[in-house]
Symmetry: C2
Subunit: 215 residues, 2 copies
DNA sequence: ATCATTGGATAGCGTCACTATCCATGATTG
DNA sequence: CAATCATGGATAGTGACGCTATCCAATGAT
């Protein structure tokens, strides 16, 4: 198919597709003449993945490129690719906030909860640093946030991860598994957050209805 | 305290504080002369909340203004304020993606999971629409995502919400409760997502170590 | 009296994710 | 075969966003 058809079937403007091609998010089409190229179903699928990562998952173009490069890199084994890919994923927190005096306490809390869950602590993990930033912000505002308070969150997260890893293993092909890991990691984030919001709304109305006036 | 001291104690540049004042994220100080104003601890606290919402929670300046305006609006009862405040919170998904043909299926899935959880379905809720967008993206990519698959996520979300609402109720003053609800809703998002990432990493290494090679 | 600081207003900056325009080549059609 | 149209590639521009830098008159500090 030509660029125009790829655009039509994906719902993405041709100018945007060209942009993704330039940025290396999408492999070039098979050149069929000096001024035309042919795209296939694989391109369509990749394009949909890119859009989902960027629009739904909210990750940046640069991050998407890193992730997809790692997924595609067939020069290393799958474990490394997986590691590189998820490490390139959006730290949910952009800033390092290294100038934070409360960071030490936050780091202690982060380690405590992971140890209590029996997890290996890897301080270099971007997720670890994001966790520290978030805890630090909570503490700075005076909200209680210690190992005990985070434990239930960690247990729930553990159960989610177990479930998701099992899902990924159901996919046969290695590249498909990698893609699935990335897609599920990123795309289930909004699912989880939305459900949490809905649950909060439900809980709030329920408590009101059952006569626990919010004062 | 003067602007300079507010800046020093919060770690936020004076130019940025002026920007927040202009944007209505921070109430004006008590004018002490035609060219000077006095700020108090409440300003400092509010400034920290604003920074946390924007930097850690990743919400936009405009959204933060809406949320805080609702929290401050003493002309209506607390329940309405709470509703307005959380409704103004960041849809984790920006785009509506109304041009989506698979949206109908996604909407069905979203309703199914909520009904199976015994929740009231409120389609106008931004979180509902965000959920539909996310499900729609997953389905478009061919990943399984039906009511049964989402049920465990919903149950976990329900437990989180219960826990968080209880936390909020521990705060005495109404305004404090509102602030706490907003802060906890927004600031626990990165906590939850980070823990999920860490749990995934832990699960992945664990499965590797226990001899389930990822092919 | 002097001089730095303050708050307020205005305009500018850097990033990001596109998007619009232009162009030469090649495909399509009567 | 000529006229027209579409395509892919390159380049520059756009609009939103979150600040940030500059200027200014009035004031406080010394």
């Amino acid at each position: 198919m030509r660029l125009a058809e790829l655009s039509r079937r994906s719902g993405v403007a041709t100018a945007t597709i060209k942009f993704y091609l330039r940025e290396g998010l999408l492999p070039a089409g098979r050149r069929v003449s000096s001024t035309q190229a042919e795209y296939d179903e694989e391109h369509l699928r990749r394009l949909q993945l890119v859009r989902a990562l960027i629009q739904v998952g909210g990750i940046s173009v640069a991050a998407a490129r890193e992730v997809l490069t790692a997924v595609d890199d067939s020069s290393v084994d799958q474990v490394s690719r997986m590691g590189t890919a998820v490490a390139a994923l959006p730290q949910p927190l952009p800033g390092p906030a290294a100038d934070d005096p409360g960071a030490a306490t936050a780091d202690r809390v982060a380690r405590e909860v992971q140890e209590r869950l029996g997890w290996r602590v890897v301080p270099e993990n971007p997720a670890h640093q994001a966790l520290v930033s978030a805890i630090s912000a909570l503490l700075r505002l005076g909200y209680p946030c210690d190992g005990a308070a985070l434990l239930p969150y960690g247990e729930l997260a553990g159960r989610l991860a177990e479930h998701e890893l099992s899902l990924v293993e159901e996919f046969a092909a290695p590249t498909t598994q990698l893609e699935a890991a990335v897609a599920l990691t990123v795309l289930y984030e909004p699912v989880l957050l939305s459900l949490r919001r809905l649950a909060q709304a439900e809980q709030a109305t329920r408590r009101l209805r059952d006569g626990i006036p919010p004062r």
